[in-house]
């Protein structure tokens, strides 16, 4: 939980109490390590994405150039 300056002390205390209660719940049910197949699937998805689009984040199509002005 991130405390924020705009919060009243009362709200902050309530949020901290809630955070502790839900953190206890989360601690009682830890996620464990990521399953190996998830990591494999993730790596495959990244490779597939790279093949299909090139590097992720790059433009799919280069920006069109304005045609030269007619004289």
């Amino acid at each position: 939980m991130r405390a924020e300056r705009s919060m009243s002390p009362e709200d902050l205390a309530t949020l901290e109490l809630l955070s502790a209660a839900l953190a206890a719940e989360a601690a009682a049910t830890p996620p464990g390590p990521p399953p190996a197949e998830h990591l494999t699937d993730l790596a495959h998805a990244v490779q597939a994405r790279k093949r299909r689009w090139g590097a992720i984040g790059q433009r799919r199509h280069p920006r069109r150039r304005r045609p030269p002005r007619r004289r």
Binding site: E4, L22, P34, P35
Partner: protein, 189 residues
């Protein structure tokens, strides 16, 4: 403190890591997955009620993040908020498909796996009271507070996930916390 893990480390280091991921670095994605996994899992577990669905939702969230990585821009609320918005949509999709398969589970009847029943007994009475009070809140209130507390997002990031204005989210948060205090006071009586 977020329920799962610390929300952010060095923002610059995170930005470099995300940029590597966006350029197709599989190791960077694995690191991001490991970093977000505890919070995503805790968030999904609260919303879906059992480990298997939570695991599936986390995996699906990261797969969708990879597939739509080209749409991510730093000008939004940041990478974590972007992933949690995807996660929220995954949970909605899974809840819909589950509701088609089984009867709808009413509020306060969230199914718990056998392990969590034992876990509940181990929790302190105060925590249990807070959780009971929390379960009385509306779905909108719980959505917001879970994003703040379980997902460890700021108000701005939670606003991005909920597609609302940050100011409106701050007001809604204050009202939700006030309602929570009211329910807690009723628990004490």
């Amino acid at each position: 403190m977020a329920a799962g893990s610390a929300p952010l480390e060095d923002p610059e280091a995170l930005k470099r890591l995300v940029d590597r991921a966006l350029h197709g670095d599989a190791d960077a994605w694995t690191t991001l997955y490991a970093r977000l996994r505890p919070r995503l899992f805790a968030f999904c577990l609260r919303r879906l009620g059992n480990r298997e669905d939570a695991e599936d939702a986390v995996a699906e969230t990261m797969m969708r993040a990879v597939r739509s990585a080209g749409q991510f821009r730093w000008r939004g609320a940041g990478f974590d908020a972007w992933v949690f918005r995807i996660c929220k949509n995954v949970i909605i999709d899974m809840s819909r498909s589950r509701s088609r398969q089984t009867a709808l589970v009413g509020r306060g009847e969230r199914p718990l796996d056998p392990a969590s029943v034992e876990e509940q007994a181990a929790l302190s009475e105060e925590h249990a009271a807070v959780r009971r009070a929390f379960d009385h809140l509306s779905q909108d209130d719980r959505d917001l507070l879970e994003l703040r507390v379980v997902a460890g997002l700021s108000s701005e990031e939670a606003a991005y996930v909920l597609q609302r204005r940050p100011g409106a989210v701050r007001v809604a948060q204050s009202r939700a916390l006030k309602r929570l205090r009211t329910y807690l006071a009723e628990e004490d009586q």
